[in-house]
């Protein structure tokens, strides 16, 4: 055990001193989250806003509803699209994955005029249909509220200050995941996979080529002690990466993901799976550079086919069939199930698959990794 701890300490020291390793393990996934987040979580200055204006009198839109749409347009914050009055607005928002929309109800002008009568306690409501998991929806709701408040202030000059018009939020059910909620567990799985497989390939290849394995073989250090140390080291590195990725997600994208025991077990077993895989790979592809290229050839397509970036449901059927045989699919599904959806049963099923795979691959990897070639 003492020898394992000495090796572990030395491994962390060397990792800390390698800027390249630090960058690819920690900085790269963080940069990727920020870049993807900026692209996909709607941080542009103009928002697409669908408005369904139902407020008609004698076949014509009311003056107040048109004025309200014009006021929204004047903010310069929106690209406004008119939604057909005959469709169900909520259904449309769900089907078309809209994060928010406004419905100006029939009688909006009439209700507002009634609310303006002195002594009236009535108000006129504008439903704001939105997905509560989307930060952009909250931003848009704030802008719409700003316009409505201006209207209320203008009406107040004619009477008492009162909320004549109210924006009423209506969340879209069922809850839909934001891109970042979907993306963060994918990045966690991807990072655990790449850092573990490349570390195993790189260390096995380099130690064999440079003769460090040979030197270690002349000491009382046992191969199993060394592999145990490497496994613990890699799991800790994955946990540090996980903390950083979730930290970035919380700080920049307001994600509500908290690592739970199942997600920690899943990340640890993912690390074991791909460490074992890397050991096996470097046993058969002895040239370290070729082994690195082989690891790339395996992990790169896996990232795209296992639902890291794109939900599996959005992929063609034949790609979904391929995904079922890729370990990263189960890692991603398991992490999303436990961290985002709260579906414990589904998460446990994925954890079991990866744990069995992880233990098996690690044992095979440990068994076939030789310090000396015969």
């Amino acid at each position: 055990m003492n020898r394992t701890l000495i090796d572990l300490k030395a491994s962390f020291k060397m990792f800390y001193r390698s800027r390249t390793a630090l960058f690819w393990t920690f900085a790269f996934p963080c940069i990727m989250i920020v870049l993807f987040g900026a692209i996909f979580s709607g941080s542009s200055t103009k928002y697409d806003l669908y408005i369904q204006n139902q407020d008609m009198v004698n076949g014509n839109l009311t003056a107040l509803s048109k004025g309200f749409v014009d006021a929204l347009n004047l903010t310069g914050a929106f690209n406004i699209y008119d939604l057909d009055r005959t469709v169900n607005a909520t259904r449309y928002a769900i089907d078309h994955k809209l994060s928010y929309m406004i419905v100006i109800p029939l009688g909006f002008q009439n209700n507002t005029q009634q609310a303006l009568f002195p002594g009236s306690a009535l108000n006129s409501t504008i439903p704001f249909i939105y997905d509560q998991s989307q930060t952009s929806a909250i931003v848009v709701m704030g802008i719409v509220n700003g316009v409505v408040n201006k209207m209320n202030q203008a009406y107040a000059q004619q009477g008492v200050l009162h909320d004549y018009v109210v924006v009423k939020g209506e969340t879209i059910a069922p809850k839909r995941l934001s891109f970042m909620d979907f993306f963060i567990p994918g990045v966690l799985g991807m990072t655990a996979m790449t850092s573990s497989i490349f570390a195993a390939v790189e260390i096995s290849g380099r130690y064999r080529e440079t003769g460090i394995f040979h030197k270690l073989a002349t000491t009382p250090l046992k191969r199993i002690e060394w592999i145990f140390s490497r496994t613990i080291y890699q799991i800790v590195i994955c946990f540090i990466g996980m903390a950083l990725i979730i930290g970035i997600g919380i700080a920049f994208f307001n994600i509500k993901v908290i690592p739970d025991p199942l997600s920690l077990i899943l990340v640890a077993t993912t690390s074991m799976t791909f460490s074992g895989f890397g050991m096996i790979l470097s046993r058969f592809v002895k040239d370290p550079e070729a082994a690195g290229a082989a690891a790339n050839a395996i992990t790169f397509p896996m990232m795209f086919l296992s639902g890291t970036f794109i939900p599996l449901e959005q992929m063609p059927e034949f790609l979904r069939a391929i995904a079922t045989v890729l370990p990263l699919t189960y890692v991603n599904n398991g992490l999303r199930a436990t961290m985002i959806l709260g579906e414990t049963q589904q998460a446990i099923a994925n954890v079991i698959i990866i744990a069995v795979l992880g233990v098996t691959l690690l044992l095979v990897g440990a068994w076939i990794t030789k310090w000396e070639e015969e």
């Binding site: 020898r3 003769g211 270690l216 009382p220 000396e372």
Partner: protein
């Protein structure tokens, strides 16, 4: 030789890889406190033999005992008592000199003072330098220090100066001679005959997996070396028949116009010079080339020991 004076005993050791016999039934002994040089060209079976003695390879057959322990049964006991500088030694690039020593000391559970080893191999200025920043000679010296972390009774140094420049090679030789003075037994494998001649008490020559000769460097040269060579610079070809009448063999080099005479006894030089003077055959300078282990190897195997010449 009594048992307790023997550090290593090897009997009929064989190592085969598929159809290749890397080590072919070799036997030899290494005395405690000596520098034992295992000399042979690349691929002769030196490293395979040394790795069997270090317990990191299993022999196909035969027996070897290191410090009284059987290599097949007492691997742990042997590993505790030996130090190894492998061929093409390398260690952790991003650990410093001191950290590398401490790492390996930890592997042996040794409480050795890293600073004393650093001083021993004269790396005090580089104590906190990372391994990757050291020059070739300094890296090898660190390798020697690491091989000493468990205060071993035997040190295995496998080609310790291969690829080093002459200055670095001499630095490593000094370190090795210093260790001998401390009473360590040193098992040195090398393909540099000069290294074996300078450092070794005993030399064993291995060729194609078989031992072809052993003894002290001097005895090997006496027994198997060619006789010394006398070179007569820029000499007339007419000297050849004259020298042959003295019972000596001589060759004429057309390019250099040198006459090379193989001497067979101590008086040969004066006989050759006297004969040339008598016949008034002019010659330039005289050169006397002594026989070396290189000649011994050439004589025994018909092959050159190495392509690269040690400095």
């Amino acid at each position: 030789m009594t048992k307790n004076q023997t550090a290593i005993e090897v009997n009929s050791l064989v190592k085969k890889y598929c159809n290749l016999t890397a080590v072919d039934s070799i036997s030899f002994n290494v005395k405690k406190g000596e520098i034992f040089a295992f000399l042979g060209p690349n691929g002769a079976g030196k490293t395979t033999t040394v790795e069997i003695l270090e317990c990191i390879r299993k022999p196909t057959s035969g027996k070897a005992v290191v410090l009284g322990f059987d290599i097949l049964k007492d691997e742990e006991e042997i590993k505790k008592r030996i130090g190894v500088l492998p061929q093409d030694f390398n260690t952790f690039a991003r650990l410093t000199v001191k950290e590398n020593i401490e790492y390996f000391a930890g592997m042996f559970g040794s409480s050795v003072d890293a600073d004393s080893l650093i001083k021993l191999v004269d790396l005090e200025d580089k104590r906190n330098e990372q391994y990757r920043k050291l020059s070739g000679g300094l890296k090898q010296r660190l390798g020697v220090a690491i091989a000493l972390v468990n205060d071993p009774e035997i040190l295995f140094l496998d080609e310790p100066t291969a690829g080093l420049d002459p200055k670095a090679r001499h630095e490593v030789w000094d370190a090795i001679l210093g260790l001998k003075q401390k009473g360590k037994t040193i098992f040195l494998t090398t393909h540099y005959m000069e290294e074996a001649e300078i450092l070794a008490d005993t030399v064993t020559i291995i060729h194609k997996g078989k031992i072809v000769a052993d003894g002290t460097p001097q005895k090997l040269i006496e027994r198997h070396g060619k006789l010394s060579l006398l070179i007569l610079k820029k000499t007339d070809k007419a000297a050849i028949p004259l020298i042959e009448t003295l019972g000596l063999t001589a060759q004429y080099d057309k390019e250099t116009r040198d006459v090379k005479v193989t001497l067979n006894h101590a008086n040969s030089i004066s006989e050759v010079v006297r004969a040339l003077c008598t016949k008034q055959i002019d010659f330039g300078e005289l050169q006397l080339k002594k026989s070396t282990l290189e000649d011994v190897f050439l004589n025994l195997t018909g092959e050159k020991l190495k392509e690269e010449e040690a400095s």
